[in-house]
C-alpha cells in the first residue's frame, strides 16, 4: 500500500466547477492525505517543517491545481520555492525525496486538441509541464504523466463527474500499486489508464 499526498492549490475553490468535484471523489481513507494550501496558509506563510514531514511520510506526491497562465496558482509556486530546500530535496546531500513519485492533477480551459504542436497552444501539455518534470528530476523523484481535465469551460456536470470518478479510481489503484510503472510512464495522461464507468456517461 502506497501513501498518497495531494498538495492542492486553488485560490477560489468556492467558484471552481471542476476541482470541487474532483475533491469530492477523493476516497476518504487513511493513506490518502489532502493538503489544502490556500486553506492552511491563507497568509502565504508556509510551515516548511510541517510540509517536509508530510512529504517524508508519503510515497506518491500530487500537485493538484488549475492551470493558470501555463503554471500553477501563486501559493503552489511559493510552496515549491520554500519547501524544496537545497540540501534536503536536492543538491549534493539532498536525498529526502529520492524515489518518490510525483505528478500533476491539472485542469485547463484549453482542450486536448489545442495543446498540440500544430494546435492553438503550439505545444503539448507535457511541454507546458516541463518545469514540474525538471523539478521532480532534480529532486530525484519519478515524474509521471498528468491527470488532466481539459476543455473545462465546455464540460457539463455529468462529464465532470466522470473525471471525478476516474480520479478516485486512479488514487485507489495507485494506493494498491495495481498500476505498473512502465504502463504509467508510457501513457500520455493517467486518465487514459482508467476505464470509463458506464453509469456516469448519461
Amino acid at each position: 500500500m502506497r501513501k498518497i499526498l495531494i498538495i492542492f492549490a486553488h485560490p477560489v475553490l468556492e467558484k471552481s466547477r471542476v476541482h470541487k468535484r474532483l475533491l469530492h471523489y477523493i476516497p476518504q481513507q487513511t493513506g490518502i492525505t489532502l493538503n489544502d494550501l490556500y486553506e492552511n496558509y491563507p497568509d502565504f506563510d508556509i510551515d516548511v517543517k510541517r510540509e517536509q514531514e508530510l512529504l517524508l511520510a508519503h510515497d506518491i506526491i500530487i500537485w493538484q491545481h488549475p492551470l493558470y497562465w501555463y503554471s500553477a496558482p501563486a501559493l503552489l509556486k511559493q510552496w515549491q520555492d520554500l519547501v524544496l530546500e537545497h540540501g534536503w530535496a536536492y543538491g549534493k546531500n539532498g536525498y529526502a525525496l529520492k524515489g518518490k513519485k510525483l505528478f500533476n492533477v491539472i485542469t485547463s480551459g484549453g482542450s486536448l486538441q489545442a495543446y498540440q504542436r500544430e494546435g492553438y497552444q503550439q505545444c503539448t501539455i507535457n511541454e507546458v509541464l516541463k518545469p514540474y518534470e525538471r523539478t521532480a528530476e532534480i529532486c530525484r523523484m519519478t515524474y509521471l504523466p498528468p491527470f488532466w481535465v481539459s476543455g473545462t469551460h465546455k464540460l457539463e456536470l455529468p462529464q465532470i463527474n466522470e473525471y471525478g470518478h476516474k480520479y478516485g479510481q486512479l488514487l485507489l489503484r495507485l494506493r494498491q500499486e495495481s498500476l505498473k510503472d512502465e504502463e504509467m510512464m508510457q501513457a500520455s495522461c493517467l486518465n487514459d489508464l482508467i476505464e470509463t464507468s458506464e453509469n456516469n456517461l448519461a
Binding site: P11, V12, E14, K15, Y38, E39, P42, D43, G109, H153
Partner: protein
C-alpha cells in the same frame, strides 16, 4: 420668601463661579474652591449667609446621598473582583491601621474611646475628589500608584456605609439633634414598634428595594426612555434617588445607605450611563453647595483660639497617614518611587469627613467645638495636598528610585536609537517586544516608574516622564531618531505630544495609536498620516474567523478583510472631510451618530467581484458562445 431664595442662590452661585475656577487654576482643586467660597460668604468674612448655613447644609447633604448613589452605580461586580486584592488588602488595611493609629493618638489627647474611634475612622479617609482629579490631571491613573490609590479610595467610599451604621452605637449622650436629612415632616414607621417588628420592617424594606429595583425600575426606565424626553428621564432618575431617601428615612436608616443600595441594584442595568450622566450635575452642584456650607460654618473665632492645636493635628495626620500608606505600599511590593507618589497623594482627609462630622455631631458623639476644629483641620489638610505633591515631585522623587534618565557610566557611548516608543502599556510593549525580537534598538518613554524600571532591567533604554515634554524627548534622542511611535493611551496627551513634536522635531515620522474612529478624526486633523486604530485589525481578524467557521475559504475571508480594511481607511478619510468637528454632542450620542454614518456609507462598499481574473463565468460564456458560432473550433 422668593426674594430670599433668589438672593441665597445668587450668593451661593456667585461665590462658586468666582472661587472654584480660581482655585482650580491655582492647582488647589474644586473642593477647596468651594470651601474658600463658603468661608468668604460666611459670617467670618462677608457675612452674606449666617445662621442658616446649617439649614442649607441639611439640604445640601442630599448631594452626598446622590454621590453614594453614583458610587453604587459605578460598583461593577467585575471591576470589584478584578481589584479585590488591592481593594480589600490595601484599602482595608489602610482604613483599619490608620484608624487605630489616629484613634490611639486621639486618646492621648484625652478623648474618650468612642470619640477617638469616631475620629480615627473619619480621619483615615482620603479625598476621592481631590486625589482622582489630581491623578487624572497628571496622567497617573494607569500607573501602579494610580491604580493602588483608586483601590484604596474605592474601599474608603464603601467603608463610609458601615461607618454611618456604626456611629449611632458610639453615641455617649442622648441624641440631642435629630438627624435632619430624613423626612422632615413625620416620624418614622418604626417609632415605638417592638424590636422584632422594627427589624422585620427594615429587612423587608431593603428586600423590597432590591426586588423593585430589579423588576420594576428597569421596565419603568425603558418606558420613560421610549418617550425620548430627556427631562422626564432626568426626573425619573431624581425620583428614584429622592424616593429611596424618603423611604430610608421612614424606616430610620441612613438615606445615603439606601441610595448606595439602589445604585448597586441598578449598576448592571442598561441605563446605568444615562442615570449617571443625569444625576452627576445635581450631585456636583449639591455637593458644591454642601462644601460651601461647610466653609461658611467654620467658626474662625474658634479656629484662631485653637490655632496651635489645629496645626498640630494637621501635621500629625499627614505624618501618620503617609507613614501607614508607605508601609502598606512596601508590603504590597510597590516600587519606591510609585510608593512615594501613592502615599503622599492620599495624606489629606476626604470630603466624607464633613458629612461624618456633621453626622457624629447630630449623634452626639463629638462636641460642636471638636467638630469645628476638625473641620478646619480637614480643610487645611486638603489645601496642603497640592503642595505636598509638589514637594514630593521636586525634592523627594529626584533622589529616590527611577531617575528621568538612566545613570550610565560616563565612558559608555550614548548611541541614539532610530526608534522611540512613547508608552509601554499593552500596546507599546507589544511593539517593543516585536522590535526587540528583531534586534531593532528602540528607546522607551513611560510615565510609570515601575514600568520604566522593568524595561531597564531588560537592558533596554528607557526614560521616565511625561512624553509630551520637549526636554524629555530631546534626552531620548528625538532629534536623531527616524521614527516615534506614540502608543500612550490618553487621546489628549497624544495630541499634545504631536504638537510638541511637530514644533520641535519636524523631521521625525510619527506613528500614532488611536482608540477609535473619532479619535482618528482628531489625529487626521492634526495632520497625522500613520494612524492605527486599536480595534480595527483585531475586530477584522474575528470577522475572518467567523467567516471561516461558517465554511468560507480562509484565503477568501482574509482577502475580504484586507479589502474591507483598505475600504474603511479610505472611508474614514472621506467621512473626516465631511463631518463637522465643532458640533457638540454627548459622547454616547456621538458614538451612535458615528456608527450610523459609518453604516450608511458602508452601503457603498461593494463586496462584489474584486478578483475578476479568477472568475471563470465570463470566460466560460465567451468560449461557449464561440462554439455556437464555429462548432469546429
Amino acid at each position: 420668601m422668593e426674594h430670599s431664595f433668589f438672593y441665597k442662590a445668587l450668593v451661593f452661585l456667585g461665590a462658586a463661579v468666582l472661587f472654584v475656577p480660581l482655585a482650580k487654576k491655582s492647582g488647589l482643586g474644586s473642593v477647596l474652591g468651594y470651601l474658600i467660597a463658603g468661608v468668604f460668604i460666611g459670617p467670618s468674612v462677608l457675612g452674606f449667609v449666617g445662621a442658616e448655613g446649617q439649614d442649607i447644609m441639611h439640604y445640601a447633604e442630599f448631594g452626598v446621598v446622590m454621590m453614594l448613589f453614583l458610587i453604587g452605580l459605578e460598583l461593577e461586580p467585575e471591576l470589584l473582583w478584578k481589584l479585590r486584592k488591592s481593594i480589600l488588602g490595601l484599602g482595608g488595611l489602610q482604613v483599619i491601621v490608620s484608624t487605630i493609629f489616629i484613634a490611639g493618638i486621639a486618646m492621648l489627647f484625652h478623648f474618650n474611646w468612642q470619640q477617638a474611634l469616631a475620629l480615627g475612622m473619619i480621619l483615615s479617609l482620603s479625598s476621592t475628589a481631590i486625589v482622582l482629579q489630581t491623578m487624572a490631571e497628571k496622567e497617573l491613573m494607569r500607573t501602579s500608584a494610580g491604580q493602588s490609590a483608586f483601590a484604596v479610595l474605592l474601599f474608603q467610599d464603601i467603608a463610609v456605609i458601615p461607618m454611618l451604621a456604626l456611629f449611632p452605637l458610639l453615641a455617649t449622650t442622648d441624641i440631642l439633634h435629630k438627624p435632619t436629612t430624613d423626612a422632615h415632616d413625620a416620624g418614622t414607621w418604626v417609632d415605638g414598634q417592638p424590636a422584632w417588628l422594627h427589624a422585620a420592617i427594615v429587612l423587608g424594606t431593603i428586600a423590597a428595594v432590591i426586588v423593585v429595583g430589579r423588576m420594576a425600575v428597569r421596565p419603568l426606565l425603558r418606558l420613560v426612555a421610549k418617550t425620548k424626553m430627556r427631562e422626564i428621564f432626568t426626573a425619573t432618575a431624581l425620583l428614584i434617588v429622592v424616593g429611596i431617601a424618603v423611604l430610608m428615612g421612614r424606616i430610620g436608616l441612613s438615606p445615603a445607605l439606601g441610595a448606595f443600595l439602589a445604585g448597586v441594584v441598578l449598576a448592571n442595568s442598561e441605563y446605568r450611563h444615562e442615570l449617571e450622566s443625569d444625576i452627576e450635575p445635581f450631585k456636583g452642584l449639591l455637593l458644591g453647595v454642601f462644601f460651601i456650607a461647610v466653609g461658611a460654618s467654620i467658626d474662625f473665632g474658634l479656629v484662631s483660639q485653637h490655632l496651635k492645636e489645629i496645626i498640630m493635628w494637621v501635621l500629625i495626620l499627614i505624618a501618620v497617614k503617609a507613614l501607614v500608606l508607605f508601609l502598606l505600599g512596601k508590603v504590597f511590593k510597590m516600587g519606591t518611587e510609585q510608593n512615594f507618589i501613592f502615599s503622599f497623594s492620599l495624606t489629606q482627609v476626604g470630603e466624607f469627613a464633613f458629612v461624618l462630622f456633621s453626622f457624629s455631631f447630630q449623634q452626639g458623639i463629638l462636641s460642636q467645638e471638636t467638630t469645628s476644629i476638625m473641620t478646619a483641620v480637614v480643610a487645611i489638610s486638603m489645601g496642603l495636598t497640592p503642595l505636598i505633591i509638589l514637594a514630593n515631585e521636586k525634592f523627594i522623587l529626584p533622589r529616590v528610585g527611577t531617575g528621568e534618565t538612566e545613570e550610565r557610566p560616563a565612558d559608555e557611548i550614548d548611541e541614539k536609537n532610530p526608534v522611540i516608543i512613547a508608552g509601554f502599556g499593552h500596546f507599546g510593549s507589544t511593539i517593543g517586544r516585536f522590535l526587540r525580537a528583531n534586534q531593532i534598538p528602540a528607546t522607551y518613554l513611560d510615565l510609570d516608574s515601575d514600568r520604566v524600571d522593568t524595561v531597564r532591567k531588560m537592558g533596554l533604554k528607557a526614560f521616565y516622564g511625561d512624553a509630551s515634554r520637549v526636554d524629555l524627548l530631546q534626552a531620548a534622542g528625538a532629534d536623531k531618531a527616524k521614527i516615534i511611535v506614540i502608543a500612550i493611551s490618553s487621546p489628549e496627551k497624544r495630541l499634545e505630544m504631536i504638537e510638541t513634536i511637530k514644533m520641535n522635531f519636524p523631521n521625525i515620522h510619527m506613528l500614532v495609536r488611536s482608540a477609535n474612529r473619532y479619535d482618528a478624526y482628531d489625529l487626521m486633523n492634526a495632520g497625522m498620516l500613520h494612524i492605527y486604530r486599536e480595534t480595527l485589525d483585531t475586530s477584522l481578524r474575528v470577522g475572518v474567523d467567523v467567516m471561516s467557521m461558517l465554511g468560507f475559504r480562509k484565503y477568501t475571508a482574509q482577502r475580504l478583510a484586507r479589502n474591507f480594511m483598505r475600504y474603511d481607511e479610505a472611508n474614514l478619510k472621506r467621512l473626516s472631510a465631511i463631518r463637522n468637528p465643532d458640533e457638540y454632542v454627548v459622547e454616547a450620542r456621538k458614538y451612535m451618530e458615528e456608527i450610523e454614518a459609518t453604516l450608511q456609507s458602508d452601503r457603498q462598499y461593494f463586496t462584489g467581484e474584486s478578483d475578476l481574473s479568477w472568475d471563470p463565468d465570463k470566460l466560460i460564456e465567451e468560449v461557449r458562445a464561440s462554439i455556437q458560432e464555429n462548432p469546429l473550433q
